[in-house]
Symmetry: none
Subunit: 415 residues, 2 copies
C-alpha cells in the first residue's frame, strides 16, 4: 500500500522553517509497513492544494494533507481538500462550544474565523487535537483514505500519536513483520565498508543491507521481512556476527541512537575507571563531549586545554625539548600530553589531541593531520596518526578527531 | 520564474533524517526572487527520479535534483537525471586525478565506483564541491536549467554558496531591490524585545520588522523595499539607532552570520588581549567555542576543565574552604575559578562557569542555575547569576551558559 504526504505552507516553501512533521509521519508509516514514496510541499494556495490532491489520488491509497488549519485567511487547506474531494465542511458544535470556553477562560478575543477550527470534512470523522484548537479530519471514500492534520509540530505529533496511528492500525493492520538491526561504524570509507560487508553477508540472501553516512559514523541497517520473530532474530544475529568477523575494529555498537561517547562513558562507569584529557586543536571539545552525558562526573574530574605550545609546558610540565625536537604535531608531543595529563589527575586514561585544524597548514603539515595519544595506567602509551580530509573544514576535523579519540578508548575498554 | 526542488533519498522518504537542504535552497531562491512552489521528495530509484524530472519539466524553468551522488550502488541520481534529459555522463579527468590523490594521501583504498564522483552531465558544466568528493552538475537546455547537487548537508551548503548562487545571479539576475539589515540580540524574551522595538520604530513606517528566534540569539530583520540604495541605508541606519537606544545591552552585532564568539575573538585580537577559562558544567565547551574561530591562537593559549570540586582545588589551587563554605554553585566559587585561571595563565581575562546542567539538582539548586565569573586584569572581578529554563535540557543549558559568558566579555570589550 502506498501513501502520499502533502505538506501545505508558504513558510515551508520559502524555507523559513524546517519540516519535521514529514519525517515523523514517514517513520510512523514505515513502522506499519506503509510506503510513502512520494512527498510534496506546496504553498497555501487553493488551486495548488486541489491539484496536489488530485495527483496523489492517481498514485496513492492513503493521502495526508498537513498544515494550514489555522483561523486566518491564508489557511485554506480544509476548504481546498473538500473541493478536491467533492464534499463540504461540517461544524462540530460541541468542539465549537469548547473553543469559545477556552477563549473566555484565557481572556482572548474570539473572532468569527475561529469557527473554522471546529470544522471537518463532511462524510468523514473529526480527529481530536490534544495540543491545540483545530480539529483534524479522517475521510474514507472509494477505497482511499484522506487524512487532514494541523501544521504546528506539537499538535501534529500529538494528533498523529493519539488519533491517527491507532486508526491506521485498525484500518490497515500493523503491517507485516519487519525486523531490523542497526550497526554503527567509524573509520572505514563507506564504499570499502559496504564492499566488505557485501562479501561477508553474501550467503544471507533474505537480509537487505543499507548504509547511511552521518558526520561521525556510518550506520548500516540489516532488515529481514516475512520471518517469524525468533527466526528473524536468529538470521539478524548470524548476519551481524559475519560482519563483525571482518569489520569489528570499526564497529562501536548496535542501535539507531548509539553514540561512541555514550558507549565510552558507560564502559568507564561499569569498569570503575576515570579519564582525563589534554587538548590542543580540539580546544576542550573532547572533554565537553564527555560532559554532555548525564552522570559524566562518575568518570571525569577535569582536564587541560593546552592550545599554545607554552600552555603545554606550563600546565602539563612537558619539557620544551620534546616540542622543539619533534614539533607540536608529533607522536612524541601527543604521548607527553597524554601521559602528563593522566599523571596530574591520577586518572586511568589520559587522552591527548594535537594537530592541524586548518584552514592554514602548521609546521609544514596540512590541515587534517592529527596525532592522538592515549596513556593508560600501568600500560604503554598508544599513539595514532589521523589524516582527515582537509577539505572537510575546521569544525569537521576537530569533531572527527574527538570521535577517533573516543574510538581509541572504546577499543581499549571493550578488550 | 518557477523552480522545482526534487530531493532524492530513501533515508528522507523513510523519515530517518530531517531535510535541512531544501529550506536552505528555498531561502537562497527567495532572496533572488525565484519561487519554488513545488517541492518533491522521492526514493533512490531510477524510475521515480526520471518521472519526477519529467513532471518538473512541465512545471518549472529551473530544476534542482539533490542527493544520491555517492559512490555506492544505490546512488543513481546522476545516471537517472542523464536518462531523463537524454544525455550521458562525462568524467572530469582532472577531478578524478584529484580524488585518486586524496585517497592515496589519506591511505584509503580507492574503488572503481569512486569514478562516479568525478562525473557530470554531458553538455553541462561540473560544479566544484568545496567540502567533499562528488561533483555537482549545471545543465542548460531548451531554456531550462537543471542543477544536480550532493546530499550531505555540509557539501550541499558549500556548493550552493560557492558555485550555485553566483551562477543563479549571473543567469537570472539578483531579483528586485530589497534592502535589509539584521540585528542580533541575546538575553531578552522575544515578545518583550519585539514590543520594545515596535514602540521604538513606530515612526519608521516604511520599515518592516520581523524576528526569528534561534537557539543562541534572536535575529531581528529590518527591511525596506522600493527605495534608492542611499535612502534605504539612511532609513535602516536611523531605525537601528532608535532600536539601540532602547535595547543596546542585549545587542551584539549586525548581520545574518554574526555570532558572539566571532565578535569576542575579533575584539580581543584588535585590542591585543588574551583570555582563558575554567569550566565546570560547560566542561570545555567555552574554550572549544573560542577555538572554533580560525586564528583563535592570537587570543587564547589554554585553560582548565574543572568538573569535580577536587579538580578545582588541584588544578586551580582554590582553597577548599571557599567551596565548603559557599558551595560549588556560588558567586564565590565562580569568582575564585575566574581569578585563579587568569593568574595561572597570565591572561587579560579569565572566564569561569559553575552551575547545574541537570537533569538532576545539585546542592539543592535546580538545573539551569549557573554562576559566571569574569576576572579582568587590573579590575574587579564580575559575577553573574543565570536562571536558565530547566526544561530546556542539559545541552541547551550548557550552550546558553557559554553564550551568556561570551556576552559578559563582549560587553566589557566594547565599552
Amino acid at each position: 500500500m502506498n501513501a502520499e504526504i502533502i505538506s501545505v505552507g508558504t513558510e515551508l516553501v520559502l524555507g523559513q522553517v524546517v519540516n519535521t512533521n514529514v519525517p515523523l509521519l514517514a517513520k510512523t508509516l514505515a513502522k506499519l509497513d506503509i510506503a510513502a514514496p512520494y512527498q510534496v510541499t506546496i504553498k497555501d494556495e487553493r488551486q495548488q492544494i486541489e491539484d496536489a490532491i488530485e495527483a496523489a489520488w492517481r498514485r496513492a491509497d492513503l493521502i495526508f494533507v498537513c498544515g494550514g488549519l489555522g483561523p486566518t485567511a491564508d489557511d485554506v487547506t480544509l476548504k481546498s481538500t473538500a473541493a478536491a474531494l467533492n464534499t463540504s465542511l461540517t461544524t462540530d458544535q460541541k468542539h465549537w462550544q469548547w473553543i469559545k470556553q477556552v477563549f473566555k477562560r484565557r481572556q482572548i478575543k474570539l473572532l468569527n474565523e475561529n469557527i473554522q477550527q471546529a470544522r471537518y470534512l463532511t462524510g468523514g470523522q473529526p480527529l481530536a487535537n490534544p495540543a491545540g484548537l483545530a480539529l483534524g479530519s479522517w475521510y474514507s471514500t472509494d477505497g482511499r483514505v484522506v487524512v487532514v492534520l494541523p501544521g504546528p509540530p506539537a499538535e501534529f505529533k500529538a494528533m498523529l500519536e493519539k488519533s491517527v496511528e491507532p486508526r491506521l492500525v485498525a484500518t490497515f493492520g500493523s503491517g507485516q513483520r519487519i525486523a531490523s538491526r542497526t550497526m554503527n561504524f567509524l573509520g572505514r570509507p563507506e564504499s570499502t565498508l559496504m564492499e566488505e560487508i557485501g562479501e561477508a553477508t553474501k550467503k544471507f540472501s533474505q537480509v537487505t543491507v543499507t548504509s547511511y553516512v552521518q558526520p561521525s559514523r556510518i550506520q548500516v541497517r540489516l532488515t529481514v521481512p516475512d520471518l517469524s520473530a525468533s527466526k528473524a532474530e536468529r538470521v539478524l544475529g548470524a548476519t551481524a556476527d559475519a560482519i563483525l568477523k571482518v569489520d569489528r575494529q570499526y564497529f562501536f555498537g548496535f542501535g539507531d541512537n548509539c553514540s561512541l561517547v555514550n558507549q565510552v562513558v558507560s564502559l568507564l562507569k561499569k569498569q570503575g575507571k576515570t579519564i582525563t584529557g589534554a587538548e590542543s586543536l580540539t580546544g576542550g571539545m573532547f572533554q565537553s563531549t564527555i560532559c554532555s552525558v548525564p552522570g559524566a562526573s562518575n568518570v571525569f574530574n577535569g582536564g587541560f586545554v593546552t592550545y599554545a605550545a607554552g600552555a603545554k609546558e606550563k600546565l602539563l610540565g612537558i619539557a620544551p625539548e620534546v616540542i622543539d625536537q619533534h614539533g607540536v604535531v608529533s607522536a612524541e608531543t601527543a604521548r607527553a600530553m597524554a601521559e602528563k595529563s593522566r599523571e596530574k589527575l591520577d586518572a586511568d586514561f589520559g587522552l591527548a589531541f594535537t594537530g592541524v585544524a586548518g584552514p592554514d597548514a602548521l609546521e609544514g603539515q596540512v590541515a587534517g593531520t592529527v596525532w592522538l595519544g592515549l596513556a593508560i595506567r600501568g600500560q604503554q602509551t598508544q599513539t595514532k596518526l589521523l589524516h582527515l580530509a582537509e577539505y572537510s573544514g575546521r569544525q569537521e576535523i576537530r569533531n572527527l578527531s574527538v570521535q577517533y579519540g573516543l574510538q581509541m578508548i572504546y577499543q581499549q575498554l571493550r578488550e
